[in-house]
Assembly symmetry: C2
Homo-oligomer: 222 residues x 2
Amino acid sequence: MSATPARYAPTPRTTPVRNADRAGYDRALVHAVLDAEYLCHVGFVADGAPVVLPTLYARAEDRLYLHGSSGARLMRIAREGGVDVCVTVTCLDGLVLARSAMHHSANYRSVVAHGTAHRVADEREARGALDRILDHVVAGRAADVRPPSAKELAATGVLRLDLAEVSAKVRSGGVNDEPQDRDLPHWAGVLPVRRTVGAPEPDPELSDGVALPAYLEPYRAG
Amino acid sequence: MSATPARYAPTPRTTPVRNADRAGYDRALVHAVLDAEYLCHVGFVADGAPVVLPTLYARAEDRLYLHGSSGARLMRIAREGGVDVCVTVTCLDGLVLARSAMHHSANYRSVVAHGTAHRVADEREARGALDRILDHVVAGRAADVRPPSAKELAATGVLRLDLAEVSAKVRSGGVNDEPQDRDLPHWAGVLPVRRTVGAPEPDPELSDGVALPAYLEPYRAG
């Protein structure tokens, strides 16, 4: 959950960035935002109506992976030739309080990825995707768990979305009031928003002698 | 951004809660989640494809209000008799590291609201909704800004969604491994996730004598 260069970009305005041409900078920004968050919001259409659900995810190069119960609606729809999705990831960085009501805003970084997500049929790719999702939660975790059994794998749907139609948007910096509002007697500024991961809370039933692994040490300070 | 009772519920499993009957408990949970977050993710269908965008919002009784540029796609679609939306709000509370890969999870509270959102035509309701959105960001803010001008109001679309088809989902508590996995030598537990709003950063061009208002004092400690 480290800050990305985008967060400190000097642009006070939102910056839509199309990734269609895969320009180096855009790609780096898109990847940085995707790597900085834990949850995405995946949108799809079911019976003609939009559905938006939060879920864990992971990025591998220019692919996104999602997973869920193979019986879940999203996974069932995907079975028939894929499912059109919009996957959105948003990092909230600040609350922008302007002197005027309409210039209030939020500092944020977001990525919106459109496309057809497909069920991953290949067992090796599916296992790799699930490992990625674990390592996205905590780097190093996938190597330190009991891996999925064949039965668990069969009960799990893995979706793959190639990052082809992607845009990133960044709003950073300070207040952007109209010139004629700048002398108004209202306080203006930014409330920075941060997310922190606190100190690990061990399972009360942890076996004797199981120490905090090295990859969790950085979280110990809370 | 205070914790809700739901966060400390003892249920280790997700708890889907339908609000259709407006039972007192469900309603309180739905409201608590909606009041705890800053951003929602609104999903709609444009040209047959799902779109999911992050945006500020506010709740007023059993209504949600969203706003945006009146030229934005969502607002344009809404003009013709409303727009079918799915508004999802998610608070991430923790990362759950189980001994087995497939029991990894997240602690979270989420609300998913479906329905047809309508453009607010009444100026008084629109102004009230924009005030609510400001006060949702920081309680007390709406009374301490230059209000929207008629021109700004004309350029702004306000959407109203009645909370009729709403569900809340809560995952809280600890690790939920299979009994046969409990003696495995992998560390298991929860990494708590918190979001904090830091100390106010004043606009460098703040007029002389403009002090931090009382409603921002609680944020001063960061």
